[in-house]
């Protein structure tokens, strides 16, 4: 860990100015991933700009969001994962978000981790986290050790020669399924980025997890109400029953017509790509159909036509298919959120 300059500006604009003016500066919020990386040597910033005490810690009703209803929730970037998951409005109107949060990390970490920070956590690829091995994401141009190595967590969709890792956030997958938007403050003011466009595929720049520019700060996440969001759910398949990253995960929001056919299905997958993967082809396949097991399997297989697997990752296509069946079946049956 390099020697650190620690700053705690009083407002978001000052924090943005502090980071954007210094290429070696980084924002610090809950710290659950950044402090980890400081110790590992994965991150070696010279300055930390602490945004954890900025007043971005409320969940508020808003009425001017895009989407069919216009209403929704605006979640401050500093709202802790545990508080967001416990929020009654989130539990009722966006159960997929609460479920995704509760499936992540541990009680302690959820008390500590923030909404913004959760989205910006970095891959848990073992080579990314081990500074003694080559990794294009950590050190561009050195190579990708995950290819041909410990690969069972690797991506099966949208990977590049340079990087085959996956994004670890559960929350991001849920947000992708409810068409959330991220509010970003930069040196030139505020902009809005759909969550689906926040993270990127690795391409030839695996070092960039997101489309944010250096110094841009997530200040809030907006969740637009929709009928599907109320009928939404999450399933995380993992080795361990708790406190483990996903092998694959599925977030889905289902809007059903009265005859049980799909008006709109929104499906996002975690653990399969460098970003939350919106299964838009599968969604299209399901429109107008009863989402029974057979239909869901068929739809998922259309989406997975683009999948590329190896010996260690071939299971992921089967697993994501099974988990998607599981989630949609539960949503179709209704019942408890």
């Amino acid at each position: 860990m390099r020697e650190l300059t620690y700053l705690r500006p009083d407002d978001a604009a000052a924090a943005v100015a502090a980071v954007s003016g210094d290429p070696e500066a980084r924002f610090l919020a809950g710290g659950t991933n950044l402090v980890d990386h400081l110790k590992l040597g994965v991150a070696r910033p010279g300055t930390l700009v602490d945004v954890s005490r900025l007043p971005m810690d409320a969940v508020e009703e808003v009425g001017d969001l895009p989407g069919p209803l216009g209403t929704g929730l605006r979640i401050g970037a500093n709202v802790r994962n545990s508080d967001l998951a416990a929020d009654r409005r989130v539990r009722e109107r966006f159960p997929v978000v609460a479920r995704a949060l509760l499936s992540g990390a541990s009680g302690q970490i959820r008390n500590q981790a923030t909404t913004g920070g959760n989205l910006l956590q970095r891959t848990r690829c073992v080579y990314f986290q081990d500074v003694t091995t080559p990794c294009n994401k950590r050190e561009p141009g050195t190579g990708c050790s995950a290819r041909g190595g410990h690969a069972r967590y690797n991506a099966v969709l949208g990977a590049s020669e340079e990087c085959v890792t996956v994004h670890p956030s559960d929350l991001a997958v849920a947000l992708a399924a409810v068409d959330a938007t991220v509010v970003v403050l930069g040196p030139d003011g505020e902009r809005r980025v759909p969550v689906a466009d926040l993270h990127r595929l690795p391409g030839d720049r695996p070092q960039d997890d997101t489309t944010l520019r250096h110094g841009e700060l997530i200040t809030a996440v907006e969740l637009p109400d929709s009928p599907g969001a109320r009928r939404s759910g999450y399933y995380k398949a993992r080795d361990r029953a708790s406190y483990a990253f996903a092998l694959v995960s599925v977030a889905a929001a289902l809007d059903l017509a009265e005859d049980g056919t799909v008006r709109e299905a929104r499906i996002a997958w975690g653990g399969v790509a460098h970003k939350p993967w919106r299964a838009t082809r599968a969604e299209e396949e399901l429109r107008g159909r009863v989402p029974d097991e057979e239909a869901v399997r068929a739809a998922v297989r259309v989406e997975l036509e683009a999948a590329e697997t190896d010996d260690q990752t071939a299971y992921k296509t089967t697993l994501v298919e099974g988990a998607t069946v599981l989630v949609l079946d539960r949503l179709r049956q209704g019942g408890p959120r």
């Binding site: 860990m1 020697e3 650190l4 300059t5 620690y6 705690r8 610090l28 710290g31 659950t32 402090v35 980890d36 400081l38 110790k39 590992l40 930390l48 602490d50 954890s52 545990s82 998951a85 416990a86 539990r91 009722e92 159960p95 609460a98 479920r99 509760l102 499936s103 990390a105 541990s106 009680g107 302690q108 970490i109 008390n111 500590q112 029953a241 708790s242 406190y243 408890p336 959120r337």
Partner: protein, 173 residues
């Protein structure tokens, strides 16, 4: 770069000079000789360093001390009143929810925090219905296990810990 900060630890106000790189855990253990929170992994993967920070269970290994100036910290050594054991600690002894003892202070703090979360109605991953009210008194075994899963015990004292936390939960008003 050094920084001076004030922490309230187990009811005592303490001033400490830290490196800006010092974690809250190292500030406690190495600079204040508060060794009740243990270091098991130093990366947020085991839970042994759990304390109650401003009333909530919190890891101290993934927190920079300098970012927590003014915080109130309660460790397992400060949970009980007037030198007595906290009821959760007594329950751990009664059910032998420990062996080597290294994860135990973190387990105890986590249990206290988890029961408080349940009392505040917070759901968990295994809560059957997010619309339902959660209360500590009626937590199922599955709920307790899930809520305590951020604290690894390599000795495998989970059965005793479960019994201890369940007894503590049932004793809640």
């Amino acid at each position: 770069m050094d920084a001076e900060l004030t922490l309230t630890v187990d009811g005592r106000r303490r001033t400490v000079t830290v490196d800006t790189r010092t974690t809250l855990l190292d500030a406690l253990r190495e600079r204040l000789d508060v060794t009740s929170p243990k270091k098991g992994c130093d990366h947020g993967q085991c839970g042994t360093c759990t304390v109650l920070l401003d009333g909530r269970r919190h890891l101290t290994c993934l927190a920079l001390a300098v970012a927590h100036d003014g915080a109130e910290i309660v460790t397992a050594a400060g949970l009980g009143e007037d030198g007595a054991l906290h009821p959760v600690q007594q329950a751990f002894l009664d059910h032998d929810g420990l062996q080597c003892g290294y994860c135990t202070p973190g387990q105890v703090c986590s249990a206290v925090g988890a029961l408080d979360e349940a009392a505040r109605g917070c759901p968990s991953h295994v809560t059957p219905d997010l619309g339902e009210d959660v209360e500590a008194r009626t937590l199922s075994d599955e709920e307790i296990r899930e809520r305590m899963s951020g604290n690894l015990c390599r000795c495998g004292a989970y059965a005793g810990i479960l019994a201890a936390v369940r007894e503590s939960a049932e004793a809640q008003a």
